[in-house]
């Protein structure tokens, strides 16, 4: 069924077993983002060492899509430079606006290509992007501080 393209197993897995959930006691930047339409929220802690993301931890509540997306994003971005992270983030945003026409670049997005199906559900794109928007914001803050 159509619904299965949205709820890929890897997404539900991350929802059940979230990665890097639990905020680090220290951080370079901390941001709090909410999805005003449904009340989902995420707090994200970013630690930079030079230009490299050494830690990305989060806490939050929300639907499977928003929570799995931030979980997978943390896995994907830890260890990357800010430039690499920006490229991945742009790639993910492009996938979300593809209206179901793209299956995603697995070399860049790895498991996060599982979110390709979300782009067919306009009401859920914001859910998938919640964590990524928070990261963008944190990266800007970390560089300006």
């Amino acid at each position: 069924m159509e619904l299965d393209s949205l709820y890929q197993e890897v997404i539900l897995d991350h929802y059940k077993y979230p990665q890097h959930k639990g905020l680090s006691p220290v951080f370079t930047a901390q941001v709090h983002h909410v999805n005003t339409s449904c009340g989902d929220e995420i707090t994200l802690n970013l630690i930079l060492e030079g230009n490299q993301i050494s830690s990305l931890t989060w806490d939050g509540q929300g639907c499977s899509i928003s929570q799995a997306s931030v979980s997978m994003m943390s896995e994907l971005l830890i260890g990357k430079t800010l430039d690499q992270a920006s490229l991945i983030s742009t790639n993910f945003s492009d996938l979300m606006s593809s209206k179901g026409t793209s299956s995603g670049d697995s070399l860049i997005l790895e498991d996060a290509v599982a979110f390709a199906g979300v782009s067919k559900f306009p009401g859920r794109i914001k859910c998938a992007l919640l964590g990524w928007m928070a990261f963008k914001d944190a990266a800007i803050q970390a560089q300006t501080d």
């Binding site: 069924m1 159509e2 619904l3 449904c38 009340g39 929300g62 639907c63 899509i65």
Partner: protein, 418 residues
């Protein structure tokens, strides 16, 4: 003829379509907006086809017909609400949100000496279960005038806590603005006690009737409130039309909110005086076709009978509650019985997030609302950041409730246990 939701449904063309790949539409999102019967669609279309002109303007036949149609709708609304002062007490707005904002802005325009004038010594009372549209305008008015905002709290069972009514509605209270029926909990609030106390201290009562007027007989001669707002689109009518009712003497004292054409009496380069009520509050060419559509909606509801609509919804709500209560791990947010409650029923289902539940139900053709329902403070108070809401209307039946029940069981299976 016996009331039959299946018969009613035949008047609503939307039920002829299917959703999500051929699924029958199970529409349970009436708290957000209702579907429209053919008579409403035809009334709106016929206005444009046959009578379109700017009401209250123009020296021609069409302008006359447009005015008659628009003013005719006002009379229908007045009769529907049993407005003691008749149709002069009915103000058309674009929505209930605008009606409530009109109240708040108009009060903000009142000069010292006007009974509506507010200052730091005054208090405005709301409740914790208000929709944002009956909370934020008052917060903002308090911000502009220095008045103090106070509110009734909500009990864990989803009822207003009136135990401290005298210390909430204090002698310096000017306005008590509250919902008749919660859009989240379904709770119907006890107006008598609140109106008595408010009037005892000289405060005016504004009622948000968005969730009640479409579903029960409103008798303004009995209710005791001073102002009332509701929206057309939740009552089978078009979007873009709302109603503000106010007692005539109060509307006369209330300063206008929007200024422009139609609402004036005389204008010079420096000054203006206002048209009599209700025109004083209707600047600009109004949403005529929508008002006419609302008139047709009310005629439709009245032809069925509001008591019959209400009885049907009460019986069906009881059935829905009974079905929902038989689901493992489901909790009702709000009153769990049909006593003093309407047909909006919110709930949570174990670890399935409402957004995911709503998505699954949608895949089965079932339309519900999920989230915080434009009532963040209430969601926080009830300890549920988000919930799923099913809300019924006259065209819903037991089969719709059964579909929801089966849909929830399906979702539990689909998402497994977390």
């Amino acid at each position: 003829m016996l009331f039959s939701p299946e018969q009613i449904r035949k008047d609503f063309p939307i039920f002829e379509r299917t959703v999500r790949g051929g699924k029958k539409l199970v529409y349970l999102d009436n708290g957000a907006t209702s579907q429209k019967p053919n008579s409403v669609l035809e009334a709106e279309t016929n206005f444009y086809k046959l009578h379109n002109a700017a009401a209250h303007r123009g020296a021609h036949q069409l302008a006359e017909e447009a005015t008659q149609a628009y003013e005719g709708a006002r009379e229908i609304v007045a009769e529907f609400l049993n407005a003691p002062g008749g149709s002069e007490e009915i103000v058309f707005t674009k929505s209930a949100t605008e009606a409530l904002n009109l109240m708040a802005y108009a009060m903000g325009n009142a000069h010292p000496g006007n009974r509506f004038h507010l200052g730091p010594q005054d208090r405005i009372v709301v409740t914790e279960m208000e929709h944002h549209s009956n909370l934020v305008p008052w917060q903002q008015l308090c911000d502009r005038t220095g008045a103090e905002l106070a509110w009734f709290e909500v009990t864990p069972h989803g009822r207003l806590d009136l135990s401290a009514i005298d210390s909430v509605i204090t002698p310096n209270t000017k306005v008590v603005s509250l919902t008749h029926q919660s859009n989240v909990l379904g709770t119907i609030n006890p107006l008598e006690e609140i109106v008595r106390r408010a009037h005892e201290v000289g405060a005016l009562v504004i009622l948000d009737a968005c969730q009640s007027a479409p579903h029960m007989k409103i008798d303004l001669a009995q209710l005791g409130v001073d102002f009332l707002a509701f929206s057309g689109h939740k009552a089978l009518g078009p979007t873009g039309i709302g109603v503000l009712w106010g007692r005539k003497n109060l509307l006369e004292d209330l300063p206008p909110f929007l200024f422009g054409g139609s609402m004036i009496e005389m204008v010079t380069m420096r000054t203006a005086t206002w048209a009599p009520v209700p025109q004083k509050f209707e600047a600009g060419v109004p949403n005529m076709a929508q008002a006419v559509g609302l008139g047709a909606a009310i005629e439709y509801l009245s032809s069925v009978g509001m008591d019959i609509v209400n009885n049907h919804e009460r019986t069906l709500t009881e059935y829905l509650l009974q079905k929902l209560n038989s689901v493992d791990d489901l909790s009702i947010v709000g009153p769990n019985d049909s006593e003093a409650r309407g047909s909006a029923v919110s709930f949570t289902v174990n670890q399935i997030h409402p957004h995911d539940l709503g998505q699954y139900l949608d895949s089965q053709g079932i339309a519900v609302r999920t989230g915080q329902h434009c009532a963040w403070p209430l969601a926080k108070r009830m300890g549920v950041p988000a919930s799923t809401r099913a809300s019924l209307y006259l065209y819903n039946n037991e089969a719709d409730c059964d579909a929801l029940f089966n849909g929830i069981l399906g979702a539990q299976k689909y998402f497994g246990s977390f």
